[in-house]
Symmetry: C2
């Protein structure tokens, strides 16, 4: 098997970004272990810089650029965590991040991008407008486009999570039989699968998806990549479909993709708040919900890592989602 990224790329990424990222802690919770019927090790990327794992990939991509490539800055279109991540990575490199965002983006997200020094270019809230505007910005600035997931350096950056997680769990004298990963565009699970399989070939890599946007589960089942369902989910980071680089990885070395309902996601959000005292966004709760729901009775693995991929949710939204879970 040959993918766009190999283990050596992930090891290089780890060296490249080591001093710029947080080595996030791995936490345990006896109550959630009981509900999931196995030992869980939670990798807290909600504590990562900019509040999500996206900073690893963005940082690796930006730091990999030659000085010539970097000079004119970097460009992306995103209304989510990748925008903030790219803005901070660019700031660290001393270059400009141009972020195309739809006019209906949440004000807090725009403020975060600007807070990290990013330059926002607003566009109409359609995919066509986003792409057209991004192309205009690229032409004007001659910057480098950094997409949110379908990019070798981005995938390699996300893979560094698995290097840390396996090392941290081992240093606690535990072993990991599986890693449960929220799945949207597939950048996170691809990096993790490539890294973890290299270190521990028999490890299970399991994707977790909201059932309303189950394109990856369907793609696996049919053996053919499916487009985004276009449906909505509270786990807004997971609405995207698999990419050209991530689909082969999901097809070939991800063991399975399970789905959870919106109400399971809300219950998991509430449990993590109440029992772990952690703020996570709904996308993170998808992995937790999978561990307690569809994966609870799986006998083919004992312990599992669960990636808490991000924590960017304002308190009002969290409060109303959790209320709705009662």
């Amino acid at each position: 098997m040959s993918f766009a990224v190999n283990f050596a790329d992930i090891q290089s990424a780890a060296k490249r970004i080591a001093d710029r990222i947080h080595r996030t802690p791995v936490l345990r919770c006896a109550h959630l272990d009981a509900l999931a019927n196995r030992q869980l090790h939670f990798k807290c990327e909600n504590f990562q810089r900019t509040g999500s794992f996206k900073f690893r990939g963005a940082c690796n991509a930006v730091m990999s650029l030659t000085n010539d490539e970097a000079r004119n800055g970097v460009v992306t279109h995103s209304s989510g965590n990748h925008a903030q991540a790219l803005a901070l990575a660019a700031k660290m490199r001393g270059i400009t991040a141009y972020v195309v965002m739809p006019t209906d983006s949440a004000r807090t997200k725009c403020a975060a991008v600007e807070g990290y020094g990013g330059q926002i270019i607003y566009c109409e809230p359609t995919l066509v407008a986003r792409e057209t505007t991004a192309r205009e910005v690229l032409d004007r600035t001659r910057g480098t486009f950094i997409p949110p997931y379908d990019h070798p350096m981005v995938i390699a950056g996300q893979g560094t999570i698995a290097l840390e997680l396996l090392e941290q769990v081992q240093s606690q004298f535990h072993t990991l039989d599986a890693i449960i990963v929220p799945l949207g565009g597939g950048g996170l699970i691809s990096g993790i699968a490539i890294a973890a399989r290299a270190l521990q070939p028999d490890i299970r890599i399991i994707g977790a998806e909201p059932e309303t946007v189950c394109d990856a589960a369907k793609s696996k089942r049919l053996g053919a990549r499916q487009p985004a369902t276009g449906a909505v989910t509270i786990a807004d980071g997971l609405r995207t479909a698999l990419g050209d680089l991530t689909w082969p990885v999901v097809r070939d070395i991800v063991d399975s993709v399970v789905t959870v309902s919106e109400s399971e996601i809300k219950s998991a959000l509430r449990l993590v708040y109440e029992r772990m005292k952690l703020v996570i966004e709904p996308s993170s709760a998808v992995g937790v919900a999978a561990a307690m729901g569809p994966l609870r009775d799986r006998k083919d693995f004992q312990s599992a890592g669960v990636i808490l991929c991000g924590g960017n949710i304002d308190l009002d939204s969290l409060s109303s989602l959790v209320k709705a879970s009662r």
Copy 2:
């Protein structure tokens, strides 16, 4: 100086409870460092079993009992974190915890005590009723009374936080010049002061108190122990006054006690939620608020530990407190 607890007691406590408590992580936050104008190391006792540091002291007290003493169970009166902590510690020992709670206690707190196997005895919501009822329960059960803070084994248990914190910060190749500790009855700060001073005699130990219930600050200033002010604060864990065992420690080896306003506490709650993705209760926010407010310009120490003492707050309450801080 001779206090009710010495360093050896705290070392014994650490051994006694090691397998039963969580060794809680120490987290950093660049944004809060900037606001506090120094390096802060947050000790996350909000992740401790039962959601607060109280489990350390309760566990040490319960595990120190002889079999004869333990046989008839343990008794306390508390509507707060000590109740849950004692219930779980007793459950681990296989004995009963009898907890006297006022009839107007929050339903979630009663549920938590019962969830850990504690037996609740309800009483009228007055101090007299609590004490009378506790005495009746003691007479009836012949159990052992374990108060929330003014008890050598409880203080020794809380002191184990300082052993861990200093070791954890050193293992990160940093040093600590001070520890900032929320101050109510003084059990937490007494244990920490005794342990930290033994390991590092020049360390600053600083108490943080809501200005509405500033009996400890006033006691320090006047050199004489003051009664509880009787006022209210959102940091409900800090309303109690100093005890017979904790006052001498606060008087002699706590460097200073600073106070913060209710609005500073709310802002700190919000910042820790938004920037650290942590759920903390208002008492924990008092230490954070002190670091950013009254201690910000202190030149006599550089880095500081901040004890996040607990995380027991329901999402509705957190949400409305944080709304009020805008």
